[in-house]
Amino acid sequence: MNSQFSYDLDERRLKILLQDAELEFNEEAWQKFEKLKPLESKSTFENILPKINIGISRSIIVPIIFIVLIGGFSSLLFSFVDFKKKPEVITEIPMIVKPTIKPKIKSSVPIKKNIPLVKDTISAIISSVTIVSTKPENENKLIVKENLTQIENVFQSNQIENQKSKENKQKEKIGKPKKKQKLNPLKLPIIRASTTNLNEGALEPELELK
């Protein structure tokens, strides 16, 4: 309001003008009133209950609502966090070994176990041959041929021995099936060859330097 405002109204005069003033009665108003439905009286249940008017100002309600909201939100967050350390429970898992049943194959023919011997001999021979391979081509061919004849001889002798041993085993199995004979490994002849550098004296192509 304006500070320069001066109140000039005569309130006493206003009161006289308005307080005891009257309006003319008209019949239409009564007819309208008759048409108007009477006010529905409030239910008895509402009348029984006492009216409670608690004057709570906005300055109280708003902080309470905020406190409740913040408290609720923080409690919701704390519900996700566990402050107590739970003791670690060590549980031993028992090792259960499942028995695997392997089917036993009963074979009438005994398994041959002498084959590795031959292989050993062959591998030994081949190792000796590799040593010889450093010689020139012509000499190598000769040495290889000699070695091959030796290998063939050894192989034949081994085969004969194997046959003999088989026959003996069969005989022993018939008589004494449980006993195993120890086989003496064959002693192969060691081939000695010179290990000198065979490339000595050979002409090597010289690289042309540009």
Partner: protein, 194 residues
Amino acid sequence: MTEAELISACLKNEKTAKKLFFEMYYSKLAFIALRYCKNKVQSEELLLNGFNSIFNALSNFKNQTELSLEDFSKHELISFLVKEIKNIRNEYYVASTVKAIEKKERSYDLFLDNFYVDFNSINQNILLKSLHELVPSQRLAFNLNIIEGYNLSKISDLLETNEQTVKSNIEKARFNLQKTIERNLKLNQNEQPV
């Protein structure tokens, strides 16, 4: 028919007694309703409902002996009007803000404000018109305090607000009423033929 007989007949819901009561107090109560409401249409509507509430409350009149029947019916109607006007919330709480935003045409006439207003020449029509232009909260406070003569605590109980709010509403009502009366008086003088 005596006052007691009239009341007992009204309580028995007799049509003739009710009509008699209506005719007796209509003129006074109608003007009260016109003071409190924003226009004649609203006042007529609320007056009829107010009569209904008075008839319902007549049973309480027998118990008390302080007030006459006229004063009792006036008091009953005023409390009903206050309650109803306050319940029209879109008017009661929004009207003041809408009025504040309203744009008014500026006048650059320097002698316009020097217009002499004789407040003793105010008639009832201009006063009622100016009252209707007030915001509902200010109109109620002005009527209750200045015309009816209720004290601040009673008004604050009726309006369900604190006394400070009522006091400020009365002050605003005084300022606005004077301004509206001035304006309406000027308009009234301009309209009159020279």
